[in-house]
Amino acid sequence: MKIAVSTVGIEKDSKLEPRFGRADYFVVYDTETKEYSHIDNKEVQETAHGAGPQTSQKVFDAGVNVVLTGNGPGKNAFQVLEAGNIEMFICKEDISAEEVISKYLNNELEAFKN
């Protein structure tokens, strides 16, 4: 399973970015290989509108199964993620990607509902 966290950087200790659609990066953790990778989402920042669906598409294309973010995705992003069978959870704390992931794995995060 692949877990993606919206972040401000590309390392596992990078802080959680509360926004989904306009996050610069996603840190991705693969629970099978226990390896970290990242998605560069900077290019989406250049778009004026519709960052949410674009970002969702990127996350989907990367084969992600679970998204962890701060505010929760907007309506459009939600629609894409849902259509792509990607689960969404939110975390309101100012902590690192690694910590958010461990919270998720311990079932401490709240599922996001639109």
Binding site: P53, Q54, Q57, A83, G84
Partner: protein, 287 residues
Amino acid sequence: MYKIAVASGKGGTGKTTVSTNLSHYLAQTQAVLLADMDVEEPDSHIFMQGQLWQEKKVYKEVPTLIEDKCIACGKCKEVCAFNAITMLGKRVLFFNELCHSCYSCIELCPVQAIEMKPQKLGLFTQINDKNLTFLEARLDIGQEQAVPLIKQSFDFIAENIPAEIGIIDSPPGSSCPVVETVKNCDFVFLVTEPSPFGLNDLRIAVETVKLLKKDFAIIINKDDGEENIIRDYCTKENLELLAAIPEKQSIAELYSKGSLIYQSDADFLAEIEKIAEKVTTLMRRKR
């Protein structure tokens, strides 16, 4: 119809106060239209009485997929400049509120697998109160496209409302919705207040109106009667200062209740008379 936009650089300067009072005042002697184009937050209706004449749903055109024709080539997603189309594998998803109805996807689809269908954008409400016709254009919550709604409002006015004078309450700011409103009008009243904030925002508004090559005059609201920076600015830039509504708590109170102010405040009435006279002059010049 001779249309006058009532606009301001920032919100809360008294645009609605001026447009509602002026239109009611003018309607004492002639047929007048008051249109509220502040489509995200229209609130002129608070000052309206009279009969609900009609409500009309407004639509925009959005794409829909003819699934058995689609070959999932991705062309529509590629050409959409507004990110309103996403593809998950072979599935095409449209985001209607992001769609500008530009028709690029339809025009460029190689297999004609897209057609347009109407989607509700907002609502027109027309209220008739003797000589005064009121039109409110309201954008549905979640819709982002103010400009097409404003465009359609002016078409609706041209087809349905016979008044010779139109007072158009514009959206605040200087972005696209204001440009669209002012573009469709013949003259602009810029409402401002005598503070550095008011002046800064007025400057931007003047820049916008000049860019659109429209004639305009300035109305000061909450005027303190002293020499103030707006008066100085008008003199220096040689701009027409049309009226100055005095700063009075009683006026603010009347506004907060949703009452017409000129009916019970003589100072206010005197200023509205000046503005009305300007309207008459403009109309005469037009003829």
